[in-house]
C-alpha cells in the first residue's frame, strides 16, 4: 500500500544504520502487506474473485496475490459464495488447518447472511461457523468492493496487538 508510514521514525544523521520502531508496527507491517488468501470459491462470487486476481483490478497491488489452494500455506480465507450446510463442516475443517494468525473475509450476501437463500439447505451466514473479520455486501460484490474489504482488513491488522499476543502464546 502506498500510504505514509508514521510508525517508523528514521533519520540517518542521528541514528546511523539503526531504525527505531515498535515491534507491533514492524510485525503488522509485514503481515499487512503479505496476506496469502485461501480462495474459498463456492459460487458466482468466485468469478469476481478471479477478476480481482486478474490484470485489470490486480490484487497484487495490495500484496495479496499469492492465492494458495492449500490452507496450510494461507492466512486469509476469502469465503466467496453460498455456504450450504453440507459444505459448512468442510469449510470449518479447512479453516482449522490454516496457521494463526489468520483472518476471514465473508465476500457477498450469501457468505455474510445466507443472502437470497432463505432455505433449508443454506447456512444463514458463515459467521455461524468461523469468525469473520470483514463482511462485503453485494450480490456479487464488484471487484473494487473486495479490494476495499481487503484494505479494511489491512487496517484492522495494523491495529492488532501482535507483540502481546506473541508473548502470551
Amino acid at each position: 500500500m502506498v500510504t505514509a508510514n508514521t510508525e517508523i521514525g528514521y533519520d540517518s544523521k542521528v541514528e546511523g544504520e539503526a531504525i527505531v520502531s515498535r515491534a507491533d508496527a514492524v510485525i503488522n507491517w509485514i503481515r499487512t502487506n503479505s496476506l496469502w488468501p485461501m480462495p474459498m470459491g463456492l459460487a458466482c462470487c468466485a468469478i469476481e474473485l478471479m477478476a480481482v486476481g486478474g490484470a485489470r483490478f490486480d490484487i497484487a497491488r495490495f500484496g495479496a496475490e499469492v492465492m494458495r489452494f492449500s490452507p496450510r500455506q494461507a492466512d486469509c480465507m476469502i469465503v466467496a459464495g453460498t455456504v450450504t450446510y453440507k459444505m459448512a463442516p468442510h469449510l470449518r475443517r479447512i479453516y482449522d488447518q490454516m496457521m494463526a494468525p489468520k483472518w476471514v473475509i465473508a465476500m457477498g450476501a450469501c457468505a455474510s447472511s445466507g443472502g437470497m437463500y432463505r432455505s433449508y439447505a443454506t447456512m444463514q451466514g458463515v459467521d455461524r461457523i468461523v469468525p469473520v473479520d470483514v463482511y462485503i455486501s453485494g450480490c456479487p460484490p464488484r471487484p473494487e468492493a473486495l479490494l476495499d474489504g481487503l484494505i479494511k482488513l489491512q487496517e484492522k491488522i495494523k491495529r492488532d496487538p501482535s507483540t502481546r499476543r506473541l508473548m502470551s502464546a
Binding site: Y85, K86, M116, S119, Y120, A121
Partner: protein, 213 residues
C-alpha cells in the same frame, strides 16, 4: 407419433391415458414400469431419458407419490411422459431404471433424497444433495421451505461451533416475483407479507437474530 398411444395401450392393457397439454402421456402401474420403458427404448426408439422426478400429491392423497419419466427419441424428435404411482404411501417405492439408462442413477438418487421414494434394484441408493444421515426429505409437502432444525453432519465441528442447521428466518417470505409485470419495481422479488421484519417481529413467530440499532 400420433399412433403411439393406441399402440402402447394395445401392447400393455394396464396403461391409462394421462391428461396432458403437450406430449403423449400415460399412467403405468409400478409393476409394469420397467417393461414399458424397455419397450419404448428398444422398439420405439426412445433412447434418451431426459428427466426423472417425483411428485408429492399431498398428505391426504392416495396414491401420495408419483414418479414421472420424460423420454425422448433422438431419431423421431418426440417426447413421451410416463407416470407411475407408488403403491405404498408410507414406504413409496418403484423399480429402478438404471439397468435401461445408466443416467437414471443420479436422477433416482436425487428423487430418493428429495421425496424418500426408494428405487428397487438401484446399485447405490444414497442421498446426493443433502448429507448422509439427514433425517428429512425436503420436497415433501409436509416439509417447510425454511427447514427443520437439524444437527450438522460433522459432530466434531458441531461441538466446536455449537451450530445447527437452523430453520431459515423467512421474515415475511417466501419471496415472490410479480409475474408478467412490466414495471421492474413491481416485478422485483418481494416478501408475501411485508408487515413484519427483523426489527418488527410478528407475534407468535420465532424470534429472529438480534439486530443492533
Amino acid at each position: 407419433m400420433s399412433d403411439l398411444l393406441p399402440e402402447m395401450m394395445g401392447r400393455f392393457p394396464t396403461l391409462t391415458e394421462r391428461p396432458s397439454s403437450d406430449h403423449p402421456a400415460v399412467n403405468v402401474p409400478a409393476e409394469d414400469l420397467v417393461a414399458v420403458l424397455h419397450y419404448l427404448r428398444d422398439e420405439k426408439g426412445f433412447d434418451h431419458l431426459a428427466d426423472l422426478t417425483g411428485i408429492d400429491n399431498g398428505l391426504e392423497a392416495s396414491p401420495r407419490f408419483t414418479v414421472v419419466y420424460h423420454v425422448f427419441s433422438t431419431r423421431d424428435h418426440g417426447w413421451v411422459r410416463i407416470a407411475a404411482d407408488c403403491p405404498d404411501n408410507a414406504a413409496p417405492a418403484v423399480p429402478s431404471a438404471v439397468s435401461l439408462w445408466p443416467g437414471a442413477n443420479w436422477h433416482e438418487r436425487e428423487c430418493f433424497d428429495m421425496f424418500g421414494i426408494r428405487f428397487e434394484g438401484h446399485p447405490d441408493l444414497r442421498r446426493i444433495l443433502m448429507w448422509d444421515g439427514y433425517p428429512h426429505h425436503p420436497l415433501r409437502k409436509d416439509f417447510p421451505l425454511a427447514g427443520i432444525e437439524t444437527p450438522l453432519s460433522d459432530a466434531e465441528v458441531a461441538a466446536e461451533t455449537g451450530t445447527t442447521a437452523i430453520a431459515a428466518p423467512m421474515a415475511g417470505g417466501p419471496f415472490v416475483a410479480g409475474a408478467g409485470k412490466l414495471n421492474l419495481g413491481e416485478a422485483e422479488p418481494h416478501a408475501k407479507d411485508e408487515s413484519w421484519s427483523e426489527r418488527h417481529p410478528q407475534p407468535g413467530q420465532p424470534e429472529l437474530r438480534q439486530v443492533k440499532e
